[in-house]
Amino acid sequence: MATSMASNAGIKSRGAVVKGKSPSRLAFERFMRNPLAVAGTVILLAIIFVTVGAPLFTHYSPSAMNIMNTNAPPSAAHPLGTDQSGYDNLTRLLYGGRVDLTVAFSAGVMTLVIGTIYGGISGFFGGWIDNLMMRFVDVMLNFPFVVFILFLEAVFNTSGELLLITVVVLTSWPASGRFMRGVFIQLREQDFVIGATTIGAGTWRTIFRHMLPNTVGTLSVLVSFAVAGYVGLEAALTFIGLGLPLTVASWGGMLSDASNYTAMTTQPYLWLPPAIMIVLTILSVNFIGDGLRDAFDPQMRS
């Protein structure tokens, strides 16, 4: 008698077996229908392409200084001129992007990984574990960035990309940890997670099979916004002298070099390109982030 109902309530067979579209697949399709998100992706890929493939676009090496040709205005040989060390500015711009993107992406991913693990443990187990872990997050959230970066610089006797990534991650994970805790607490109360327990799934299965896959949307949105934020942060820190060494090619560094009255008013070729690259990168990543959010959470779309 149970089978008799198949005709009116079940999905009718359409001959060949049709495989369903997974939510990720659907999200991807929605993403690809969003013109801004696609534009953002294209721009970002283009930026990655020109930075990673920098040697294809310039035959200068980023470390080939020409002390006899410093502060040169734009010319055919140097479309953006040369800097005070005689480096080709276009070359520095392209190679500098590598540094910016490396810092932003690795810091973004690491922050999220740490945040997810920390927030996941805190949110899933709750109780005193959660309480203790969140108190620690409170402390870290209020921890002064400047103290941290100067401390690490002084103690490890170094500065550079690795230190910058470390500092960014050390100061940013608490926020993502707290956020992910909220996500996990919300998930923990979802019927399908409770349901997983009632069918006898263990803790780890519940976390990895049921909870984590359902954070993918949130995570990808968070990563994209984090990356956008860190591109700006790297530039800002380098700009005020707390980030990368000034001779390392980076967009923040180039901007910092050119951020004085004389350069700004008379040499726009020095500061406009890095400023545009920074803004363009952040903009494209933000478009992607928006697109991801709309794709994963279609109800939010207006």
Binding site: M65, I67, M68, T70, N71, Q84, S85, G86, L150, E153, A154, N157, T158, S159, G160, L163, F239, I240, G241, P245, L246, T247, S256, D257, S259, N260, Y261, T262, T265, T266
Partner: protein
């Protein structure tokens, strides 16, 4: 916008002989700006500090160089250095020295008055002396100038006396006459110490215990002074406003108001162009662009200082190479310093081959042209000490790889570029110099300070000194000097060259040095020694480029600063 790091600055000293002999090595070389129009009184001029200033304005108290600059406008010392870099009359207009060179007698200018009109007396001088030697002053962090009077008779070894106690060497001989007796004769005693005695207003500060001076109302805002401009208001972190002192001993200033404003070096050019700032130092690299600004004049004067590349001679890893004179000479030949000056300072700088800049009166002209850029000679020298080339890079004489590292401070792009260039040129002679990521300046100091065993990570470093009026090598160059240990490391007492160095320095300020020719000869010998030994690799001296509004006249630009503000004036209209 960026953090600009102040370079090391060391107070060096000027000897007496200049004064009496009347030699003016540089006088006239940096003439005052021409003025044909009649002088106008009044107006406001704006000068700048690149970063925030300290808030203690009692003389000698602040450790901030900017505060000291503002304080110097409000309080004159008894004698001043004129545009020829000679000591000349200020609050004191007459002085004499006893035949044994131990007692100096001074007479206060009868016209010397405080800005409120009362006359400056020996009581004010005494207060200034007591202050420099007081426990309160010397026990605070600002007490860095107690040494100025440490040679005065009656000053204990500790260098200070109880508050208000006057040393036996200081005697009041009348309301306008006093004398100072020294413990030992010293050719540099007057310019190195006594000239800096600064009268303090006994009518005000005499009524407050010295222990309460710091942070007192007068300290935060000194409303009475003896200098050309008296502070009228202080906005912490932003500006100090000063008005002309009508009773200034050297004549009432033409300009009615002087403002010191904190303006970042990156913005200052714009404010100069718009006229919001009257006079300010600018980056040499911007000079060409600033020259085009219609309402600005530029002045370029050499600075009395030097940049250098230091090596830790006691370094555990590579010290055996660093301490070889021929290695350091090879480095000196390997560096194309004129090219570096052109790239770093748009050509506004001077190559230096010794511890004194060529503009200095005491400079040994025989040093000119030594160590011209010559990579072949550098290679020959390196070969001669057994540094063979293996896989393109030179090795230690024992065949070990030679990979010294250079440590530089963060936050200063110019220093980092300098390092880049040095690396570039040393690579050309097959020296594989690596540049460490820049680190905090304080960390560098700390590591240099505690490097007795050569185990600290610093192997080579870039630093700069700015000297003041007289190049007394004491304090920095003697093997026993603390600063030598820290920042030069040329201290091995068994090295005959170092023994000679110490002997020459000692002779340059002894009794015999009261003879100017003797002193010149000694200092020349000393410079030649350092030129040959190169305890460090002397690089160059960056010129000071000052931009100022065309309506500002009468400024005296010298390597020691812009002098005689009381004679500056502002024309109206533009």
């Amino acid at each position: 916008m960026k953090r600009k790091k102040a370079l090391f600055s060391a107070a060096a000293v000027m000897t007496l002989s200049t004064l009496f002999a009347g030699f003016g090595g540089i006088g006239g070389a940096f003439a005052a700006t021409a003025h044909r129009a009649p002088i106008v009184n009044g107006g406001t001029m704006v000068q700048t500090f690149p970063t925030a200033f300290g808030l203690n304005f009692i003389p000698f108290l602040s450790t901030s160089a900017y505060t000291a600059q503002a304080t110097a406008y409000s309080f004159d010392s008894i004698l001043r250095f004129n545009r020829k870099d000679q000591l000349s009359a200020d609050i004191v207009n007459k002085w004499s020295v006893s035949p044994n060179k131990l007692t100096y007698t001074f007479w206060i200018n009868p016209k010397a008055r405080w800005s409120n009109g009362t006359y400056i007396t020996t009581a004010d001088i005494k207060l200034g002396v007591d202050w420099l030697l007081s426990t309160s002053y010397n026990k605070t962090d600002g007490g860095a100038y107690g040494y100025l009077l440490s040679n005065v008779a009656g000053v204990p070894k500790s260098g200070y006396l109880p508050d208000g106690q006057t040393p036996s060497g200081f005697k009041i001989l009348g309301p306008r006459e006093f004398s100072v007796t020294l413990q030992q004769a010293d050719a540099a005693a007057l310019p190195a110490g006594l000239a800096a005695i600064t009268p303090l207003p006994a009518q005000i500060l005499g009524k407050i215990p010295m222990s309460k001076w710091k942070g007192s109302a007068f300290d935060l805002h000194p409303w009475v002074g003896s200098g050309p401009f008296i502070t009228t208001s202080v906005v912490p972190g932003q500006s100090i406003t000063q008005k002309a002192n009508p009773y200034y001993v050297l004549g009432r200033p033409h300009i009615a108001q002087n403002v010191w404003k904190v303006i970042s070096v990156d913005v200052v050019n714009g404010d100069l162009a718009s006229g919001q700032v009257t006079i300010a130092g600018i980056h040499a690299i911007d000079a060409a662009q600033m020259k085009k600004v219609p309402n600005l004049n530029l002045s370029v004067v050499p600075t009395n200082g030097f940049d250098y590349l230091g090596w830790r001679l006691n370094n555990a890893t590579f010290g055996s190479v660093f301490s070889q004179v021929k290695f350091r000479q090879a480095v000196e030949y390997a560096l194309n310093r004129p090219a570096m000056i052109k790239a770093l300072y748009a050509g506004y700088g001077t190559v230096e081959n010794g511890p004194l800049p060529p503009i200095n009166f005491w400079y040994n002209k025989a040093l000119n042209g030594t160590y011209a850029y010559n990579p072949a000679k550098a290679n020959a020298l390196l070969n001669s000490i057994g540094m063979k080339i293996k896989n393109g890079w030179r090795t230690m004489p024992n065949g070990q790889p030679f990979t010294p590292t250079l440590t530089i401070s963060s936050g200063n792009a110019t220093i980092q570029r300098q390092a880049d260039f040095i690396q570039h040129f040393l690579q050309a002679v097959h020296i594989n110099l690596k540049i460490n990521p820049p680190i905090n300046f304080n960390t560098i100091l700390n590591q240099l300070n505690s490097d007795a065993n050569g185990k600290q990570p610093i192997q080579a470093f870039l630093l700069a000194w700015s000297l003041s009026n007289d190049p007394d090598p004491r304090g920095l160059w003697r093997s026993t000097d603390n600063l030598n240990t820290v920042t030069i490391d040329w201290t091995n007492p068994k090295d005959p060259a170092i023994q000679l160095n110490d002997k020459l320095i000692h002779e340059s300020h002894g009794m015999a040095a009261y003879n100017i020719n003797y002193r010149i000869a000694t200092l020349n010998k000393w410079q030649a020694l350092l030129n040959q030994q190169l305890p460090e690799n002397f690089l160059f001296d960056q010129s000071t480029v000052t931009a100022y509004n065309k309506n500002l006249h009468g400024v005296v630009f010298t390597p020691y600063g812009n002098l005689d503000p009381q004679k500056w004036w502002l024309s109206t209209g533009n």
